[in-house]
Symmetry: C2
Subunit: 189 residues, 2 copies
């Protein structure tokens, strides 16, 4: 029982984790994933994304019984009706969530028990860019800050190392800091 408890750290089954790492290391093609999302416009700034299947580990993963349904919107000052967080806020959420999960997984692998992880993110944006009012400012955030509060059963140096390593491993941190090629196609009726 003590051994069984030991394999789960920070809510992560480390035996399963090492098994997954070994399997993908042995068969690199299992590492090929494709995530998918479908979005429907509802009205005005209100639109809704549905996420369920993805491809990974050599097959379409249909293990999710129900889709995740995510509503986006804009506040009144940006001409919406607050039907959901706005897209830029969802980008902050994606970044926070990815850094946090990376941190938790890295800590689990390094035998660090975490007791608390909190992060506050801010993104500065001059909306004249996206509104087409100025060519001198970009559309997106000029910069993002992430402030982490981390508590765990490890020396300060070890905790800093885990946060640093999480940044190096995070998929969304990589995408948000380095960018991704995006191709857009349009089908008309």
């Amino acid at each position: 029982m003590a051994q069984l408890m030991e394999t789960v750290r920070n809510g992560v089954d480390t035996e399963q984790m090492y098994g997954t790492l070994d399997a993908i290391d042995a068969q690199p093609e299992l590492g090929v994933f494709q995530f998918r999302a479908t979005n429907h416009w509802v009205d005005g700034a209100h639109n809704r994304t549905t996420i369920q299947e993805f491809y990974g580990a050599g097959q379409v993963d249909v293990s999710r019984a129900e889709p995740f349904v995510i509503d986006a919107g804009e506040p009144a000052i940006l001409l919406g009706k607050d039907t959901g967080a706005n897209p830029a806020e969802y980008l902050l959420h994606a970044l926070a969530a990815c850094l946090t999960t990376s941190l938790v997984y890295v800590a689990a692998a390094r035998k660090v028990r975490l007791t608390e992880v909190e992060s506050t993110l801010t993104g500065d944006m001059d909306v004249r860019g996206a509104l087409g009012l100025s060519k001198d400012v970009r559309n997106g955030f000029s910069n993002i800050t992430v402030a982490f509060k981390v508590k765990g059963e490890a020396p300060e140096e070890k905790l800093r190392e885990v946060v640093s390593r999480a940044q190096q491993r995070s998929a969304v941190f990589d995408m948000v800091t380095h960018g991704v090629p995006v191709s857009v196609e349009v089908e008309l009726p």
Copy 2:
């Protein structure tokens, strides 16, 4: 009444839109916005973001009576319990939502009535990067594709122009394609 109907197009109040554009154009400092998100780790791959206030148009906007609460997770194969879409999927949602809202706003400004907007996004990722198994592959998506289906009361050429303009104006499209500087700070107990 006919006139009143006319000001709302695609669910966007175009009179309010022009008023907002004029106000920010006249007083550029009103365009300074800051979006904010706070994330708490729950357990394993489960973490939760709360989004409510933001700064914009010269003040902290407290018009949202309730926060948006957004749960993230990972599927079983990535060591989670499907407590929410995963962070990379949320990035696809942020991109889809922003392109769609930009498209709807641009169409409203250009007097194009839309009847349907749907987009399907895919993001390809070799998870060996994020799992630390290979230095030859990046952590994030190698590429993202966005396939739009757009219907509206306008010639095909006009609809294509609106989609193209939406890409040029979208905040998240800018961020995902070009990247954003991100600074991470850590506070330890």
